[in-house]
């Protein structure tokens, strides 16, 4: 752990693969900018890789005042240990007060390793980050301007606010899409600081033999309309109805966790706290009861239509239009109505 450092910067781990930044890192730069302004400190990104200096400018455009850039052939492709070494060294050296990571497979592999080595706290999958004060109930000691790490917990029945007032840095992971991606400002200026980190034999003990990446097949975040199905769809065969309606409205197919766990559709379709957060013009929720984790991922959609047989389903609390009925009957009627208008 590092000592509390009230002048410490707000950091973002900048995730890049194949010389391209993960969008979540840009979203987090915007959030870091906001937190840093509240704290009157600087926002910075850590960019590790090989020949990726150019990416610094995008990080700066999205809110970073500084980019710590570590350029090394050992960092060309992500491996846990060398990347953890970079982060731990730089955290120990510069003592940031906050470090944010995307809750991607890479971020979820890296961040806990760093937290353990630094003996610092880490909160996974936050849906909101704020700055606020905390009073210890026993001692009445007041800790000012902490990062409040907010996340649903326990099957979504509670929202927990987590803090970390003694073992800094305060660290959190955030899913892609949870923080809004602001437009970058190419005129923003920032500093690029080159850092050198030495690796030992253990850091390099894992060899990458072969690596394969697929282009993202569906892009829920970019979809203007999303038709999503949940447990209420019942089975994989009936999930075809969701595909059919999505086809009719020219939208993408989304799903609740229950539908993904039930094997109705692949995990890349999952909307919600542990999936993708979306803000389409229209979201049609079919047979989704609407646990808070799911609602957290879609409630900012401009228009929400909920179809559910259960009038008490929480999804109706965020809906603009509700249809209480059997989706097996309602969806074909919708498709028919759309085709009549076309």
């Amino acid at each position: 752990m590092i000592e509390q450092n009230r002048k410490g910067e707000v950091w973002v781990f900048a995730e890049q693969e194949d010389e391209s930044l993960n969008e979540v890192s840009l979203e987090l730069c915007g959030k870091a900018r906001e937190l840093a302004d509240r704290l009157s400190v600087r926002a910075a990104a850590v960019l590790a890789g090989w020949n990726v200096r150019e990416l610094s400018y995008r990080l700066i455009a999205h809110g970073a005042d500084k980019v710590y850039y570590v350029h090394d052939t050992h960092l060309e492709h992500y491996r846990t240990l060398p990347y953890a070494r970079v982060m731990c060294r730089l955290i120990a050296k510069h003592k940031p007060q906050i470090v944010l990571y995307g809750a991607t497979p890479l971020g979820r592999d890296l961040a806990p390793r760093i937290a353990s080595e630094m003996r610092a706290g880490l909160t996974a999958d936050c849906t909101d980050l704020q700055i606020g004060d905390y009073t210890e109930p026993k001692t009445n000691a007041v800790h000012k301007n902490l990062m409040l790490q907010i996340r649903p917990a326990f099957g979504g029945n509670i929202i927990a606010t987590i803090i970390n007032y003694d073992r800094w840095p305060q660290m959190a992971t955030v899913r892609e899409g949870v923080m809004r991606l602001r437009d970058g400002d190419p005129k923003r200026s920032g500093e690029i600081i080159e850092e050198k980190v030495e690796f030992n034999d253990f850091d390099l003990v894992v060899r990458l033999i072969e690596r394969h990446r697929e282009k993202r097949k569906i892009n829920l975040k970019a979809a203007r309309t999303i038709v999503a199905g949940g447990a209420g769809v019942g089975n994989k065969e009936d999930f075809q109805l969701i595909h059919d309606l999505a086809g009719a409205v020219g939208g993408a197919v989304g799903a609740s966790r229950a539908a993904v766990d039930g094997g109705f559709v692949g995990a890349e379709h999952q909307v919600g706290q542990t999936g993708t957060t979306v803000r389409p013009a229209l979201y049609i929720a079919c047979g989704i009861s609407g646990a808070v984790q799911h609602r957290a991922g879609m409630e900012e959609s401009a228009k929400i239509i909920a179809i559910n047989w259960d009038r008490e389903a929480p999804i109706f609390s965020v809906a603009h239009f509700g249809i209480v009925g059997d989706l097996r009957k309602v969806i074909p009627m919708m498709i028919k109505a759309i085709k009549e208008r076309a």
Binding site: A84, R108, D109, P112, R113, A115, S116, E117, R119, A120, G121, L122, A124, D125, L148, A153, G155, G156, N157, I158, I159, A160, T161, I162, I163, N164, D166, R167, V205, R207, L208, I209, R211, H212, R213, T225, A258, D261, A267, E268, A281, L282, V292, K303, A306, P314, F316, S317, F321, G322, I323, V324, G325, K329, V330, M333, K336, A337, I338, R341
Partner: protein
């Protein structure tokens, strides 16, 4: 060459079967209404370890940390074929966050001794953090491979394996020992073997045995109960049915890194979810109602 495998497992509340009764009127959780289950991904971790032993020989030891009732997942593991089962049970471990949990498990694994592989499930359904595996690996000074899918080659001290990161996969090669977090798509966990259920359903920890004796002899003196307990434990031992139970002293844990004091993250506030019913327009599930809705969406350019 044979391999020693350790599997970390967790008993979790079945969050997929939450009902309205889970929140008490005062807004706190009513854990009693939630069934406790074997964390699903941990069954995949267990299967991965058992299959290493099946093909190369060696041992599988399963370890859990939790309240006394969590010994149930150890019995479930014994039914599936593990050689040894250990529970770390200590009130002082309560309130541990993922960092403190990783530390306590690392101390338990050090006490277990020799190992080549440590397997964990990818994540637990009650927190979904996926943090304990990497933190445990760091505490043990081990390489971690998360999102593990399968072993491609294992010879002597070198392993080549594949991990799946959602939008792709990687083949990695490294040396033993190492820690793996196992995906639920990695394998099909074997069911409990009937013969082993018959054999191990009476396996107990010291704590469980003491509880059962207290319940059976409510009016007996403490002395009498202790004597009865000693007999019971001797019998369990003889029949190889005593599940090892360790506390934080047994694993030489430094208390400053355990429980609440060992946990950097603290819960500041917990709010139960109150749904604000804002008005929505309800449409009848009829052709006419739906036609009207589609019309409205097209007119305001939401559709088309």
């Amino acid at each position: 060459m044979s391999y020693h495998c350790i599997v970390c497992v967790k008993q979790v509340p079945d969050t997929s079967r939450i009902t309205g009764d889970v929140m008490k009127p005062d807004g706190t959780l009513n854990r009693a209404v939630l069934p406790a289950v074997f964390n699903h991904d941990d069954l995949n971790a267990l299967e991965a370890a058992l299959s290493v032993r099946d093909s190369h020989g060696g041992t599988v030891t399963v370890v859990t940390m939790g309240p006394m009732g969590a010994a149930e997942v150890l019995r479930e593991s014994l039914y599936r074929g593990v050689d040894r089962a250990v529970i770390v049970n200590d009130r002082r471990a309560a309130g541990s966050d993922t960092l403190a949990t990783g530390y306590i498990l690392s101390q338990a694994i050090r006490k277990i001794g020799r190992y080549d592989f440590v397997f964990c499930g990818r994540q637990a359904i009650d927190g979904d953090t996926a943090q304990v595996g990497p933190q445990l690996a760091e505490k043990l000074g081990l390489v971690q491979i998360t999102y593990f899918e399968k072993i491609l080659e294992l010879s002597d001290r070198t392993v080549r394996l594949r991990r799946n990161v959602g939008n792709g996969w990687e083949v990695l090669e490294t040396r033993l020992p190492l820690l793996l977090t196992v995906l639920d798509t990695a394998n099909e966990p074997r069911p409990a073997a009937a013969r082993r259920v018959m054999q191990y359903k009476r396996a107990r920890t010291v704590g469980e045995a003491a509880c059962e004796i207290s319940a059976a002899m409510p009016d007996a003196t403490e002395q009498k109960r202790d004597a009865e307990q000693a007999v019971r434990i001797e019998k369990l031992k003889m029949n190889d049915l005593l599940i090892e139970q360790w506390d934080l002293d047994d694993i030489e844990a430094d208390l400053q890194w355990c429980g609440i004091s060992g946990s950097p993250t603290k819960v500041h506030r917990v709010q139960s979810i109150v749904l604000t019913k804002e008005g929505y327009t309800e449409l009848p599930p009829t052709e006419e109602g739906i036609r009207g809705l589609i019309h409205e969406l097209i007119v305001d350019h939401t559709l088309g």
